[in-house]
């Protein structure tokens, strides 16, 4: 290997290496967060059926989205209100009834989670800012099992600080650190 062009090779190697790292960083930002690990729910609850066909409101199940910081998950008694009588033959409903029989409660996998130094209040966003659920959680009514997806305009760094800050900028919401940091 002629020593003549040794520095040249070195320089090229350096640039290539840095380039790879940058590309990897950007890509990983996109892929990983966009879809995230697909949660395996114990019961395949289909939002499309309940929301689109039956026309249920989000707040019917996630009742305290307008009353507290958490938009809670309904308890099994709400499911049993209908499913004790209606279409008991669907395999998923059978599976659900079996789980309720055995454990009394369905242990859903958590899909959306905020870091523990973040204070996010659902009721402020739904009642005061009047933001549609789809704005952050994506078109849930077309999903069977809710997956991590963003309907928001910019998808970069979904559910990350930048994503929230851009939305706050756009809507003129307060950008004080203390609004979201505990």
């Amino acid at each position: 290997m002629k020593t003549k062009n040794l520095p040249l090779i070195l320089a090229v190697a350096m640039i290539m290496w840095v380039g790879i790292v940058i590309i990897l960083a950007i890509v990983s930002q996109k892929i990983i967060h966009r879809f995230g690990p697909l949660p395996e729910q114990p019961v395949e609850f289909s939002h499309t059926v309940h929301v689109n066909q039956l026309g249920l409101e989000c707040l019917y199940c996630h009742s305290s989205a307008e009353k507290s910081i958490h938009a809670t998950i309904p308890s099994s008694s709400l499911c049993l209100d209908c499913h004790e009588g209606v279409d008991m033959d669907i395999p998923e409903v059978k599976k659900m009834l079996a789980i309720i029989e055995e454990k009394g409660e369905i242990d859903w996998e958590r899909v959306y989670e905020v870091k523990d130094h973040v204070y996010f209040s659902h009721r402020v966003h739904t009642v005061i800012a009047k933001i549609e659920c789809q704005e952050c959680h994506g078109p849930v009514e077309h999903m069977t099992v809710a997956i991590r997806a963003s309907g928001g305009s910019s998808d970069r760094g979904f559910m990350e600080m930048g994503w929230c800050v851009t939305c706050h900028e756009r809507r003129g919401a307060p950008r004080e650190c203390i609004t979201c940091h505990k």
Binding site: A25, R110, H117, R123
Partner: protein, 966 residues
């Protein structure tokens, strides 16, 4: 030594490798369990409040329990409870630490003498006890419990056998006040104090700011008396044998020889009769009074007590000069054989000064036999020693700590075949028992407390029990079913309440009244002070005739007094109370014996040296602390150390001062003696440095604590003077705070330095406890601390917290924007952005920033107390007081939901909420009619280190120095 788990290994990889690829490890999925039964009104994420009563000490202040997700996370004072009025003392704030204590008993177990501890299930334990309890006489020893629980237990014991006996063993509570009133006025009632009406309070050892009677209520009354009313404030004179918080806050402080306070009081009474026109005794009786009192001359009092004649005449003149006087006589001084005589002397002096009906009254309705006299406990022990008691049940009491002669008690217990302990945490007494059954903590139980004057305060559970414990009543019923008692205690309370309700003629239906009681936390209709006429003549004269002077020992006396933080040792398993520095000497995690410099010189003692104190042929070891505030013939030590086994926090290496106390009792009331005479001190040559958090008490001319004379205040008030902002150059543009501009005002003349705010801060913000080693290395984490500085010869207290400066020296130096200024005038600390350069802490002139040098671990039950609105700070992050910004944010959110701004007093930090004297007020400067805006340009206002132009948002009001008129 260091556990390299997966996360740390990844962290080091991330740090060393150049890759900028973010940590793409799988996002941890956590399970979500919806509420089993979605009770309609329980919404996760919102706090709920239950009104209850604090049972940490016999004062019984009303509390509000803050519940989040089904667990109590904070205790706050009940704003409309007559005793607490919203405030609590440090012990009340730390009650949660007993509930969530690592050493709580989690399952019933059996431990016969030195056999190994065997775990039992509830049923097997109850069955075993069921047969054993049948044979022989049962003795139930309990601490001071709510009156309803007491009546329940008494009826239950009646079911076992008529000989079964309930003994209330609470040495800290004294019967001497009832006895003294019976002797003086023939009515065995308690005293009702009204400090707010007093101009002069002469306090003989009654530590009403710490442990005496009801500290929160009395501190509140004292603070009302400290506000300027018709150009005067109350004057507090403290006469005691050793220093205390009340003594330090007093305007004048005198130290007298132990056991001589009665002579001083009677000599003052005698002096008043001759020279004062004001005494309300008509001339006819004056001669008889003079004849009885003429034995007590000032000369005699001065000779015995060590006060000079001038001082005594000065005291007399004070009593004469001020119209509304009040004489208090407390346990720190009157805890000896003739304690009750001193209280009778105080009654006589009060009577002569005409305080009755003005600043003191007799309170009817307080049950006389609330507490059994400790002298009867001797009789009980005799009974046990000659085998008459076959089974003992202990509940909520710890005689093995406060009873002086442990050997005798142990010998007695050996003779008892069945010993049962109903306890929340394992203390010295429960360790002696055969069967130990976990019982609910008071926050998990029901109860109604009779406060006297037909006032009742409710004890209401805030949450489901933390562990597999049962309420006392259910345990007793399961041991032996009593026919007339309902099974669950709540039903029993409702029935009892029904009878009380009929008796006091409550209006409306019982159901509505019960609901209202649950909501308000009790029923109280404080009538105004009945100025019942009292006549002390015949009682007093007989007392004075056969009163013989106490024999006074010239050798050292040990004053083993109740502790402001641990009361009678019950608080010694709470880490917050150990980490709260002592209110006068700021030592932590240890209890020294305080000696006078003469004593130290005589025995050649240096601070931190361990000495062995011996008296009544028992001896303990304790480190030495030298202070000139104590009487030369007295050494003092607070109760709290030397527990045999009382959890991981109890300090074992220092001895228990209660061991040295004598076995005799108050000659009239039979109360416990807290003064041990003829104590010998011996050097042991060992040393254990005291960890003291305050660097120095001399503020030089730094003007941290400032004082203004009363005359000056009156003059300036007349002129309508206003605080003029010192000329600060405005180089850069001002920050504008359009909506909110938070401001805190602390009135130093009302602050007594009790430390309730400091413990409330620990409870609210999950401030980590670093233990003795951590404090030794100077890494205490308290966000708010009480500083004590000398100003004009007297010590004053100043709470020091982050001043939320407008021009904050810490913000400009943080390289990563971890601390910035908010548009509400707060200095924000973003914990997860902090990299840990610690420059902000160096640049803060007030040194109020704290750094997490080590990660904090919240062992299993203590993490239940953490407030979900608070971020659990990892290691390497700076933290500081944020004016409880999470409370402000919650209040703003509530207000925003209702479309309005935050009202005054709705959003306040935990310290302002918990201050018993109302010294701290907090509000929004933009709101014209908030308390703070009115106080902000008060001419007494000043900022600490104003010369640095940091423009803090905390304004201190100068302490008002009392001056005698004319």
């Amino acid at each position: 030594m260091n556990n390299l788990d997966r996360r740390n290994f990844l962290k080091s990889l991330g740090m060393l490798s150049l890759a900028m690829v973010p940590d793409i490890s799988r996002r941890p999925i956590r399970k979500l369990f919806p509420l089993l039964i979605p009770a309609e009104e329980i919404i996760p994420g919102t706090p709920y409040w239950y009104a209850s009563t604090c049972c940490e000490c016999p004062a019984r202040c009303g509390t509000m329990l803050k519940v989040r997700e089904g667990r109590v996370i904070k205790i706050e004072g009940n704003p409309n409870h007559p005793l607490s009025r919203g405030g609590l003392c440090p012990r009340g704030q730390a009650a949660l630490q007993e509930l969530y204590n690592v050493d709580r008993i989690r399952f019933p177990f059996k431990k016969i003498d030195n056999a190994p501890k065997t775990k039992l299930t509830w049923d097997s334990a109850i069955n075993e006890i069921k047969e054993l309890i049948e044979v022989g006489k049962t003795l139930f020893i309990s601490g001071y419990i709510t009156s309803i629980q007491k009546s329940y237990i008494q009826t239950w014991l009646g079911g076992i056998s008529e000989a079964a006996q309930l003994f209330i063993y609470e040495p800290a509570l004294r019967n001497s006040y009832y006895e003294a009133n019976r002797i003086a006025f023939g009515r065995p009632d308690a005293n009702e104090y009204h400090l707010e009406n007093a101009d002069l309070i002469m306090d003989f050892g009654a530590e009403f700011m710490e442990t005496w009677e009801s500290p929160v209520e009395l501190s509140h009354q004292y603070s009302n008396a400290r506000r300027v009313r018709n150009e005067n404030i109350v004057k507090l004179i403290y006469v005691g044998i050793s220093e205390s918080l009340t003594g330090t806050n007093a305007d004048e402080e005198y130290k007298i020889h132990p056991k001589t306070e009665a002579v001083v009081m009677l000599s003052l009474a005698n002096w008043l009769l001759d020279n004062s026109q004001k005494s309300n005794i008509n001339d006819r009786e004056k001669s008889t009074w003079r004849r009885n009192l003429q034995a007590f001359t000032l000369q005699k009092a001065s000779e015995m007590s060590g006060l000079s004649i001038e001082q005594l005449t000065h005291l007399g003149k004070q009593l004469d000069q001020y119209p509304n006087t009040l004489i208090l006589c407390g346990d720190a001084v009157a805890a000896h054989e003739q304690g009750t005589d001193s209280i009778v002397a105080a009654n006589i002096l009060n009577y002569i000064c005409g305080s009755y009906g003005n600043t003191i009254a007799l309170k009817s309705g307080q049950p006389l036999d609330a507490v059994d006299a400790p002298v009867d406990f001797e009789a009980v022990i005799e009974e046990i020693l000659n085998d008459q008691i076959s089974n003992i049940i202990f509940y909520n009491t710890n005689p093995f700590y406060t009873y002086p002669d442990k050997e005798r008690l142990r010998k007695a217990l050996k003779k008892v075949p069945l010993k049962i302990a109903l306890a929340t945490t394992l203390n010295d007494t429960a360790a002696m028992a055969d069967y130990v059954l976990p019982v609910h903590h008071t926050i998990e139980t029901w109860g109604v407390e009779d406060l006297g004057n037909e006032d009742y305060s409710l004890v209401q559970p805030g949450m489901q029990p933390v562990f597999d414990s049962k309420p006392v009543e259910v345990v007793l019923q399961s041991i032996r079913k009593h026919t007339r008692l309902p099974n669950d205690f709540e039903q029993y309370i409702e029935n009892e309440w029904q009878s009380i309700f009929n008796e006091i003629g409550g209006n409306g239906s019982f159901e509505k009244n019960w609901k209202e009681m649950l909501l308000k936390g009790g029923v109280w209709n404080r009538t105004t002070l009945q100025s019942a006429q009292v006549d002390a003549s015949q009682g007093a004269f007989s007392f004075l005739q056969n009163y013989e002077l106490p024999k006074v020992s010239e050798r050292l006396t040990l004053n083993a007094h109740l502790s402001h933080r641990y009361y009678d040792g019950v608080g010694a398993n709470k880490s917050w109370l150990w980490e709260l520095p002592h209110q006068l000497y700021h030592y932590v995690w240890d209890v020294p014996v305080r000696v006078h410099p003469n004593v130290a010189r005589e025995y050649g003692l240096a601070e931190g040296e361990i000495v062995s104190l011996s008296c009544n042929n028992r001896s303990i070891e304790a480190p030495v602390l030298i202070t000139d505030q104590i009487h030369p013939k007295v050494i003092a030590m607070e109760l709290g150390s030397g527990h045999a086994n009382y959890g991981q926090h109890a300090v074992k290496e220092t001895g228990n001062p209660a061991d040295l106390l004598p076995l005799n009792f108050d000659r009239i009331s039979g109360d416990k003696i807290f003064l041990a005479e003829n104590v010998e001190i011996k050097k042991t040559g060992k040393r254990r440095d005291l960890v003291r958090l305050q660097g120095s008490y001399d503020q030089g001319e730094r003007k941290i604590v400032q004082q203004i004379s009363l005359k000056e205040v009156v003059r300036l008030h007349k002129q309508g003077a206003v605080r003029e902002e010192p000329h600060a150059p405005k180089i850069y543009p001002e920050h504008e705070h359009e909506v909110y501009d938070w401001m805190m005002v602390i009135d130093l003349s009302l602050c007594t330095g009790c430390g309730a705010c400091a413990v409330a801060c620990y409870a609210e913000n999950a401030v980590p406890v670093v233990g003795k080693q951590g404090c030794k290395h100077g890494r205490e984490m308290a966000w708010l601390r009480l500083e004590k500085f000398e100003v004009d010869g007297r010590y004053r207290f100043i709470p020091m917290l982050c001043q939320q400066c407008e021009i904050a020296p810490c913000e400009t130096v943080c390289p990563v924007y971890a601390t910035v200024h908010s548009n509400e005038g707060l200095n924000i600390q973003v914990y997860n952005r902090c990299v840990g350069t610690r420059y902000c802490s160096n640049n803060c002139p007030y040194k109020v920033r704290r750094f997490n040098y080590y990660p904090t671990r919240w062992e299993e039950p203590t993490n239940l107390q953490l407030n979900p609105d608070i971020y659990h700070r990892p290691k390497g992050v700076m933290e500081k007081c944020t004016f409880c910004v999470h409370r402000l944010r919650r209040a703003k959110e509530e207000a925003k939901m209702q479309g309005r701004l935050v009202k005054d007093g709705e959003a306040i930090p935990a310290c302002v909420q918990s201050c018993p004297t109302g010294a701290m007020s907090f509000g929004n400067l933009n709101n014209p009619d908030s308390r703070v805006t009115k106080m902000v340009n008060n001419f007494r206002g000043y900022h600490v280190f104003e010369v640095l132009n940091t423009q803090p948002s905390v304004l201190y009001l100068k302490n008002i120095k009392h001056e005698d008129k004319g």
